[in-house]
Symmetry: C2
């Protein structure tokens, strides 16, 4: 008998029929003798409906009251799922974030979890109940309802799993695991049996949006065993999904590269010929940050002749705004020229193995060069190498890299 925390997202609970399907899946785990806590999101579309309603009343909804409103979405789901479970003979009991109690700070609409009181859940589990908890929400010290921000249900599930010292936290999604890359681009893409937390973090932030980044960080911090599974697979025929592991568990034979991530939503801006002096990076990025533009990659090369070039990437929707800001500050910072390109894309290879292997980067660059793909920017971290290339080469680049690093081969 294990204690399992399961999380089902908005699509999985998007209709009464789907909620009944989730109930049957939960019941099958109970039937195997496991204790189960289920964390759920709002029914798909519900959160957007509530936010639209709020905006009709107040253009910039007051954050505390927006959370009061938004929290009803998950509250409806916990009630319905508990009913669906009871309807098939499974004892169940629902809890809002406040009832659990999931204590958060008071940063409404983007609160962070401070602590979780596991007393109520533990008692109900011991009495044989499935406990159904509203994800995405908590209460602050004053008893006000808070939400963790969109997608926060994953974080709720991991935090509850950590508090309960659960044997496993299962995140049910519409994919049956984490893949070496997007199967729509590379048909040979393979489901990974395991992936490390750090790789998962890089994969998530690079566009493989299977899990919320915060939930992965949280799982890593509290050593929660996290598994990605599909909520669409037929009962009794489920695959094992992908288990997210700690680095210390990794075998030596771990392949060097685990997967290839990419992000189409990138545009690149370059400030050419700025004086190479302290503070120049802040002078350029300060005004961009103040306009709430998200900046992804930032690259500055060594200067020469007292001047340097400075590049960064932003989401494409912010490209025009970012260009306008750079043009405004151009003369003030003494730049020679501003250039930009919004037809670019970022491709990254990710793997904890790469840090102990030389030659990964050169293999990546050579593979791309052999296909005539020009690399526009390069950025590296401990466990990933990202390159910016022309958008038109994206599919080709992902395919040749996937093959070059033997990702289509099941590891020995």
């Amino acid at each position: 008998m294990a204690l399992i925390v399961q999380k089902y997202g908005g699509t999985s609970v998007g209709s009464p029929e789907r909620i009944k399907n989730v109930a049957r899946r939960v019941a099958s785990w109970r039937a195997k003798g496991h204790q189960v806590v289920v964390v759920v999101s709002a029914m798909s579309g519900e959160t957007n409906r509530l936010i639209a309603l709020a905006r009709e009343v107040q253009a910039q909804p007051a954050p505390r009251e927006l959370d009061v409103l938004a929290a009803t979405g998950e509250q409806v789901t916990i009630g319905l799922l508990s009913m669906a479970l009871m309807d098939i003979g499974v004892k169940a009991r629902s809890y809002t974030g406040g009832q659990v109690r999931v204590l958060t700070d008071s940063a409404f609409t983007k609160a962070r979890i401070v602590s979780i009181d596991e007393g109520n859940i533990r008692r109900d589990l011991n009495e044989g109940h499935v406990v159904v908890v509203a994800g995405f929400q908590g209460v602050d010290e004053a008893g006000s309802i808070t939400t963790l921000g969109r997608g926060g249900s994953d974080t709720s599930a991991v935090a509850i799993a950590a508090a309960l010292k659960a044997d496993e936290c299962q995140i049910y999604t519409d994919v049956d695991g984490v893949y070496t890359t997007d199967p729509r681009i590379v048909p040979e893409a393979r489901r990974l049996e395991t992936i490390t937390f750090e790789e998962m973090l890089e994969m998530a932030s690079l566009g493989s949006k299977v899990l919320q980044i915060r939930s992965v960080e949280f799982a890593g911090k509290y050593k929660v065993k996290l598994r990605v599974l599909s909520s669409l697979e037929e009962l009794g025929k489920e695959g094992p999904g992908t288990l997210i592991t700690f680095e210390e568990d990794i075998k030596m034979e771990q392949p060097t590269i685990s997967g290839i991530a990419f992000n189409r939503d990138e545009a690149k801006l370059t400030v050419l010929g700025v004086p190479d002096r302290p503070g120049i990076a802040y002078q350029i990025l300060g005004p961009v940050a103040e306009s709430n533009i998200d900046v992804d990659m930032i690259i500055q090369n060594v200067g020469h002749d007292g001047s340097t070039d400075f590049s960064f990437t932003v989401p494409r929707g912010e490209f025009a705004k970012a260009m306008a800001i750079l043009e405004q500050i151009k003369s003030h910072i003494g730049a020679r020229e501003i250039t930009g390109d919004n037809k670019i894309t970022k491709v990254s290879i990710v793997g904890v193995g790469m840090r102990s292997h030389v030659g990964i980067a050169s293999k990546m660059f050579r593979t791309l060069a052999e296909e005539g793909i020009n690399i526009r920017m390069i950025s590296t971290s401990e466990i990933k190498i990202s390159v910016v290339i022309d958008e038109k080469y994206l599919e080709l680049a992902v395919r040749v890299l996937h093959k070059a690093f033997d990702l289509d081969q099941v590891p020995a």
Copy 2:
């Protein structure tokens, strides 16, 4: 400066536009320097939508979980109304029943209020906030969400007014007060400046559905000054509504009759010639009650020759079912005959004054007789007299009684 509790029902908050109207009305009371607590219902249609959703998942929804679901209706409204208030510069803060905390028993879907902690509300009022509270809901000792049953928002408002010792509890509806009878039947019907709690109870239970009965009982018990007002009147041109008073406040000149109530939804069943022995009433009504049929009037006349006749009224929708039950038990109880009529209606005159005046009943019966209206059943209480007559005479009966008791005349 007064402390006022206002309650707005589902129709008054049925859309973002209407919620903004309520906000403006609340703001106008704040502008006069009053402290205001607002109790709201779910947006009209919302509670039914949620219950329908529950039934899709479980034919007989589990009561605890149904309350979890239903309580979201008011929670949405408190968030939206607080936003609407802030949007026009009024400081506001929302509370669910659990946050207040409105402590109830654990009778899910029909809980009763045990106590109200007024600390949070008092503090916010003193800080200059309008406090917006979700009606219809509370929490039990275990922290589970409860609801007071449909229409319970009136009761929430009165209970909160009692806990705060508010100067007045204002129930906003779609009528501008309590009338001597239905103005659609008697154009001369007059709005009452005041009505006693007991009269209001009789008026409410007899079909003048302005206020929930339980809220009136509650107001009487805790001596809450209750006022019925219209939420549709133009701002700055509001009438005074109808104040519900305690009997001890009544002047001696109080008119004997305050109003005329009626209920079209009645059907009459009679069991003729049953043995006049102990237990016969139970033998007849027991099976009816077990079938969950609501019984209104019950009349049994003195027996003669060892047998008696027994009559009662039920809602028309239950008439056929009740007749079938009586036919089934007919031989068992030894009845001679079963008769029924679903073309009847009940008309009642109500007034605390009548208990110190003889002759009210005879005046009522004479007035009806003069119009050739046959009385089929009579039932009396301390402050009301009800008669059952043929449906076709309803309007005529109400009009002549209204005139006979001078209800169209403003009292001196």
